[in-house]
Each structure stands twice: as structure tokens, then as C-alpha cells.
Amino acid sequence: MTTASTKIVIVAGNRYTVPAETDNEAIRQQLIAMGFADVASAEIKKGTDGEAETVEFVKKAGTKGLDAAALAALLARVPPLPVRSGAAASAGMHPADVQLLRRLATGQLTFEQALEGCILELLAAADMLAGRAFEVEAAARRQGEVLCQRCDSIPAAAAAVPSGW
């Protein structure tokens, strides 16, 4: 069943339901990171289906479609919408811990509640997870830089396409 709290992702004719807060670019990045590079150039077409928002990844002609089961597994792992880049910190944490951290982040804990909730350990875990997210970003940046350097070093060649194309 789809409601306003869910979002329908359409890829290669298949439909999948994810939380409404899930960011479209986060879905795309997650798919790319997992090896589905052809999603990188796909266009996103938005629409509605009843109360639910639909997001369709329309790939360029000739690209290979994703295996439905693999996509379903991937989408289930896409984190909810991060508010900031390091916000993946909450991914992988117990919901009760996430709730406690949220209360801390929004100023709803007292000193005593913070200590009783072992918030120091939770912050250490969140810090580690956020660190991982940054490491992934840094690695992606490095790869991009290497690619740019390679492109820069390719010698110019005569154009093979007809003039005026």
C-alpha cells in the first residue's frame, strides 16, 4: 500500500516503495556506489500515484536495466534523507539510540539524562559512522580527481565526427 509517507521509485518499469523522506540523489548515489553506474546519467521524472510521489529513473537508450531483486535489495539500504552531509551518522544505529541522539541534537536532554543515556558512547558511535560517510565522500573525490588528471593528459586527436554535427 502506498501513502503520503512513501515514495514510489520506478526503474526500468519496476516499482519500489521507499520512505517519502528518501532523497532522490541519495538513491542515485547509493545505486552508483553499489556498482550501477548507468543510473548516474539517468534522468529523474517526478509524478504522483494517488497520495504517493513517484520518481522514475529514465536511463538513456541502450543502457542495461537493473535486476529487480538487486534493486529491491539496494533500495532497502538507501538511508533516509540526510539533513547535512555527515548526517549518515544515524545509519546503522538502534532506533532508541537515534531517538536519544535526536533529543540531544534538539536540546531536549538535561545533563543528567545525557549521562544516564550513555550519550558519550552514542556520540562516539555516531562520530565513527559519520567518519565513514566522509571517507566515502573523500574517496569519491579522489577518484574524480584522478579521472580529471587522466583526461587532461590525453593528447588531442582529429575529430572523427563530420563537421557541423
Partner: protein, 334 residues
């Protein structure tokens, strides 16, 4: 069930919050009454967490008489605080994540103030001292275990501002013999120093000049550590609070007492230097005489016991142990 949105916490956020909450934990551990009355119910928001850091440092300084190194802002201004730690808790309106994260250096370890005289600095180019008390002590002890490893005539040459007559008096001081027992000598000298009267270990006042008191807060200082070793002085675990406080109190006493002694020697001019030399040599002579007496007594005892043993080997009727004990008891008192 509607999924919960993610938390907007960057690594820096986590780091900053953890610093503040660690300060809260230390407040509760070391000042439970204060914590229960003033802190426990405060919201754990950044500005109150900064208040917790400042109140913690303030309470440690006041309760344990342990001056600490305080955090500074970009302008070199120390973190401000109220007279009353309870007011300090709630005095801040805001704090940046970056500043809060940097406070970790002052929270995860205790950073006490250091009171050492900076002896190691004299080994560095461009550093000298014109303190006649220090120079006189370095001249006197230059061949002993307390030697600072610096050429004293060169130090005297570089002692700009030192009156020529005082420098000459220092240069005339006869160095102590190499084998003098410095620990005992320092203790004996300190007995005659009014400035050392209230110190728990008076001999440390003399050793303070050499950075050899054994008190880590009295044997070095922050400037020296940074200049010579390129690092800030060690921090200490909060579990050592009582020990570090005791060191700090003694180091402060030594610093003040040495300052008073220094003043007395400066005021007395060359005569003050000569008197110091006489005092040190008089006690050194006392030690030497005592050592000679002890050596003679030891030899006498060894001779007596040796004779007893020799006699015992020819006496088959008595048990060796009983005869030896009887001879030793009959030996003249040392």
C-alpha cells in the same frame, strides 16, 4: 510506521557535544553536590555545555587550589567566567562548534600550570640568566650530580644586567667536590634558609634551581617544554586530581620561596653571594667529616668482626654464631 528522519550530526558536532558531556561527567564525578544542585537539570545545549567546561575548571582551581591552563580564543583571551561557578554554568549565550571541539584538550586531560625555573632553556642558544642566586648555585654545584651541563664562565659572560662585582663574586666561588652527596647537602643548606622553613621537603628549595625536585610541576614549565622539546607539557588523567593538586601546591610554594630567596641574595649584592658560598661549603665540610667518621667506624667494626671470625675458626668448643655475637657486643660503640 513512518521512518524517523536522520539526525543532523556531523563529526564536528559529535566531537563538540562529547567534549561538553565529558565535562558534565567530570563535574558529577568530582563535585557531586554542586552538580546535583546546579547542573543536573540544565539542558544539554551547546552554551550550557560550554558553561559546564568552564565551571569544571573553575571548581578544580578553587577547591583543589590547582591553577589550570585555560582555553583561549583566537585573540589569546582566556575563556571568561563568573566568580560563582553556578553563574558560570549559565553565563554563555552561544559557542561555535569549532571552539567547543578544541576545548577537548582541556577536558579529556587535566592541564595544570607548571612552575619550573626552566633550567633546560639555558642549554639553548639565546637563553641566559642574570639571577645571582641561580648562577652562584650552578657555579658551586658544577662538578656534582646536580651539574646543569653548561659552561659557567660562559653563563656569567652572557648574564647581561648582572653587576660586575656580583659576577666576580660568583666566579670566585669554589666548586664543590664531585662526590658530595647533593641530596643531603641540599637538605642541610635548606635548614639555614628562612624561606624553606614552611616547605614539606626543605631541601627541594635548593634543588628547585636545578629542576631536580622530583615534583613534575616544579621541574619544568610550559615555555621551556615548547621551546626545547616542541611540545606542550604533559596533561594528567583526572583520576590523579588529588596527586596533581598536591604537586601544584608544593610547586607554587617552591616558586614563591625561591623568589624570596632570590630577592634576599640580590639585595645583599656580592656579600650575599659570598655568604651563600660559605653556607654551602660549611655544610659540605660537615658532611665530609661525618662521612669520614662513618668510614672509620665501619672499618673498626669490620676489623673487630674479622678478628672475631678468625678467632672463632680456632675455637671448636663454642658455637660460631654465639661467639661472633659476643665479640660484636663487646666491640666499642661506633
Amino acid at each position: 510506521m513512518r521512518p524517523q528522519p536522520a539526525i543532523a550530526l556531523t563529526r564536528k558536532d559529535c566531537e563538540a557535544l562529547a567534549v561538553g558531556i565529558e565535562a558534565v561527567r567530570l563535574l558529577r564525578a568530582h563535585f557531586p553536590a554542586f552538580y546535583a544542585q546546579h547542573a543536573a537539570a540544565l539542558p544539554a545545549v551547546p552554551e550550557r555545555l560550554l558553561g559546564a567546561v568552564a565551571a569544571l575548571l573553575q571548581l578544580v582551581e578553587e577547591t583543589y587550589r590547582l591553577p589550570l591552563s585555560w582555553p583561549e580564543d583566537d585573540m589569546g583571551e582566556e575563556l571568561d567566567h563568573c566568580e560563582d561557578p553556578a553563574e558560570t554554568l549559565v553565563m554563555y549565550d552561544g559557542v561555535s562548534v569549532e571552539f567547543m571541539a578544541e576545548l577537548g584538550r582541556h577536558v579529556y586531560q587535566m592541564l595544570p600550570a607548571y612552575y619550573g625555573i626552566g633550567v633546560q632553556l639555558l642549554l639553548e642558544d639565546g637563553y641566559s640568566t642574570a639571577d645571582p642566586l641561580r648562577l652562584a648555585l650552578y657555579q658551586l654545584f658544577q662538578h656534582t650530580q646536580l651539574s646543569i651541563g653548561v659552561d659557567i664562565p660562559m653563563l656569567l659572560e652572557e648574564a647581561h644586567g648582572l653587576p660586575a662585582a656580583v659576577a666576580e663574586a660568583i666566579g670566585m666561588l669554589h666548586p664543590l667536590p664531585r662526590d658530595v652527596g647533593t641530596r643531603e647537602l641540599c637538605a642541610l643548606v635548606a635548614r639555614d634558609l628562612p624561606e624553606a622553613a614552611d616547605l614539606p621537603d626543605p631541601g627541594r628549595l635548593v634543588r628547585y634551581a636545578f629542576g631536580e625536585t622530583g615534583n613534575p610541576l616544579a621541574d619544568t614549565n610550559e615555555h621551556e617544554q615548547i621551546e626545547v622539546f616542541g611540545v606542550h607539557p604533559d596533561g594528567w588523567d583526572w583520576s590523579q586530581l588529588a596527586q596533581v593538586a598536591a604537586w601544584s601546591q608544593e610547586a607554587q610554594q617552591l616558586d614563591l620561596a625561591f623568589g624570596r630567596w632570590h630577592r634576599r641574595v640580590v639585595d645583599a649584592g656580592p656579600a650575599g653571594v659570598e655568604l651563600l658560598g660559605e653556607l654551602v661549603h660549611r655544610h659540605a665540610r660537615t658532611l665530609r667529616r661525618r662521612d669520614k667518621r662513618q668510614a672509620r667506624s665501619s672499618r673498626a667494626l669490620i676489623d673487630t668482626l674479622g678478628a672475631a671470625l678468625e678467632e672463632e675458626t680456632h675455637d671448636d668448643d663454642d658455637t660460631p654464631g654465639a661467639a661472633l655475637a659476643a665479640r660484636a657486643a663487646a666491640a666499642p660503640a661506633a
